[in-house]
Amino acid sequence: MEFSSDEELIICALAENENAFTELVKRYIKPVYSFVYRIVGNKGDAEDITQDIFLSVWKNIRRFDTTKRFKTWIFTIAQNTALNWIKRKKPVLFAQLNSEEEETLLDTMEDPGPLPETLFARADLGRLLARALETLHPQSRVVLLLHYEDGFTFTEIGEIFHESVNTIKSLHRRSLHALKNILERDHAPERPCSL
């Protein structure tokens, strides 16, 4: 049986078609797993959380609003599940990193400029970027991953976070500033020792 869209799959899954649900899982298992892995940082926890996510999808599929996009819905579940896991296991990561004054200042700043081209020439850029993302606040990490890796618009990210588009754009701008600072710091050549 051929399925073309997520909506068709969901309609069939609601009619107790198990192949339809299996197909849905197949379509989203890799992007959801990859997203969760980047948030939690290890394979074992990422697999456990991903299993919980798909169980939650199965339990709540009858409540899914078929006028909305399924990808947004499943990533909302993924984001909530993964961030709740972090809150339980690593609560210090959720401590407020910036004061309100700092956040207001960052919100009025312009977009961060481009990264140095020499950074793109590095063979270990992927590893450097992964390490930089790990040091970001989990929410910042999620916004950047959803936008640049999973292709969500700011409006869709706003739906996932239950925030306004402007709030997400501010968070995105702050996250890019933080990421750029970390990458430039890690990429800077070491100063020679001076005697």
Partner: protein, 140 residues
């Protein structure tokens, strides 16, 4: 500017789950399905049995109330003295309505409805359960 950072994220390593991860997810969902089906079977079995047991005294009670309220006697006039009743049909209808044992009827119909509903739900669970047991395939 965003294209610039988009280019940066292309370098991010893709993480893939274990080879049999899909099977383990589907296995866990299948376990939950079976558990859910068993719970529903238990609930609807109990409900239908309870409603069936309640039906008999409900029916006995309804029959008794129909006689005691005079409804049976009034209703039998339809067949014995139809001509008079046609002339006094309004009074006859009101008398019939007044003599209806609503409590007995409610109890009987309620038991019957619960029995039929739970029987229908039970048969649905059983048919889905047996269909899946015979036909389930996980293709990876």
């Amino acid at each position: 500017m965003q294209d610039h950072y988009q280019r940066l994220f292309f370098h991010l390593e893709v993480h893939e789950p274990s080879h049999d991860f899909l099977v383990s997810i589907l296995g866990r969902v299948a376990q939950k399905r079976v558990l859910s089906a068993r719970v529903r079977m238990g609930v609807f079995s109990t409900l239908s049995l309870g409603a069936l047991v309640a039906l008999f005294p409900a029916w006995q009670e309804l029959r008794l109330e129909l006689v005691q309220s005079g409804f049976s006697q009034l209703f039998s006039l339809l067949f014995s003295d139809g001509g008079t009743l046609i002339a006094l049909w309004k009074d006859f209808v009101f008398s019939l309505a007044e003599s209806l044992p609503f409590m007995g009827i409610s109890f009987f119909l309620g038991s019957a409805f619960i029995f039929l509903f739970s029987l229908r739900s039970l048969s649905r669970v059983i048919s889905i359960f047996s269909y899946r047991s015979n036909n389930i395939q996980v293709s990876v």
